[in-house]
């Protein structure tokens, strides 16, 4: 079976990235996946995030999902929580914007300011 062999290769690839992972408690990305988020495209945003992480071999970022936060008109909403810094909440995130957040914030530490709707608990 083709997929069995594929799975073995995937396992080796995943192991290689796990080996270099630092266990310092890396950033956390939280995607709002309530009905409003899903209807606005959150699933494809999440898929883009995971795809980008797999391609770049990023494994110290935790991805999680949450329900509706009451910001339905700004969905898809994505929050990036970095230890020791105020969290950054992005609104109207598309898969392309998500890829930029990975490259600019998660990899290079630069916030993608034009999509920020809140920093810490302060709304913009």
């Amino acid at each position: 079976m083709k997929s069995r062999e594929e799975l073995r290769a995937i396992r080796e690839r995943a192991k290689a990235t796990l080996a270099v992972r630092d266990n310092q408690g890396g950033p956390r990305v939280v995607i709002a996946m309530g009905t409003c988020g899903i209807a606005a495209g959150a699933r494809d945003v999440m898929s883009a995030l995971l795809e980008e992480m797999a391609q770049r071999g990023i494994s110290d970022v935790t991805v999680s999902q949450t329900g509706c936060k009451g910001l339905c008109d700004r969905e898809p909403v994505v929050e990036v929580i970095t230890p020791g810094a105020p969290s950054v909440t992005y609104g109207r995130v598309t898969p392309a914007v998500m890829r930029r957040i990975v490259a600019e914030q998660l990899v290079n530490g630069q916030i993608v300011s034009e999509y920020v709707i809140a920093t810490g608990s302060e709304m913009r």
Partner: protein, 182 residues
């Protein structure tokens, strides 16, 4: 919602919000019966009769962040619009099961869409949530059980990005192999 698979994700998110640790998703396409059926079953906290009765009312929700609860009512209306229906069964402490069906060939039926990305989103919740995905097209069947997948992966978690990426692709490929027309 542009795709039936987005409703499936929405229903599965309800299961997770209800504290489920096992979520089973089934999609069945039947050509002879001209029917598309989707079912989401969980072992979450369930609902009592009163909550169950109001669950697909758009102006009822248990959440506090907004006052509407659109998920089930949207799903029910798409099923009904496509000459199908929806059933909801639940018991406090006994989990919940939602089934919806529609006419496969109905002109208003949204495409099934990207089920691979849905299974991926559920796999992301591993190990808190153990999902199982089953897809049938007539008498052909594909099953991806994340518990079984984890056993094969050994010490590499199902929720590693490389594995999640493979899961989405694998599900898309296998569903296409079944000859899915939904």
């Amino acid at each position: 919602m542009r795709e039936v698979s987005l409703h499936v994700l929405d229903l599965a998110r309800n299961s997770i919000e209800a504290g489920a640790s096992n979520v089973r998703v089934t999609v069945e396409e039947s050509g002879p019966e001209d029917r598309l059926m989707v079912r989401v079953e969980d072992d979450g906290r369930g609902m009592d009769a009163g909550t169950l009765e109001r669950a697909s009312d758009p102006f009822f929700t248990t959440r506090t962040t907004r006052r509407q609860g659109m998920g089930l009512s949207l799903f029910r209306s798409v099923c009904e619009r496509c000459e199908g229906g929806m059933t909801l069964t639940s018991e406090p402490g006994g989990g919940t099961s939602v089934s919806g069906w529609m006419r496969l060939s109905h002109l208003d039926r949204p495409p099934l869409g990207d089920v691979g990305a849905v299974v991926q989103a559920l796999a992301c919740e591993w190990p808190m949530v153990r999902a199982r995905y089953e897809h049938r097209v007539d008498d052909r069947r594909f099953v991806l059980d994340l518990g079984e997948l984890q056993a094969e992966l050994g010490d590499v978690p199902v929720s590693s990005p490389v594995v999640l990426s493979w899961i989405a692709e694998h599900v898309r490929e296998q569903v296409a192999c079944l000859g899915s027309t939904a």
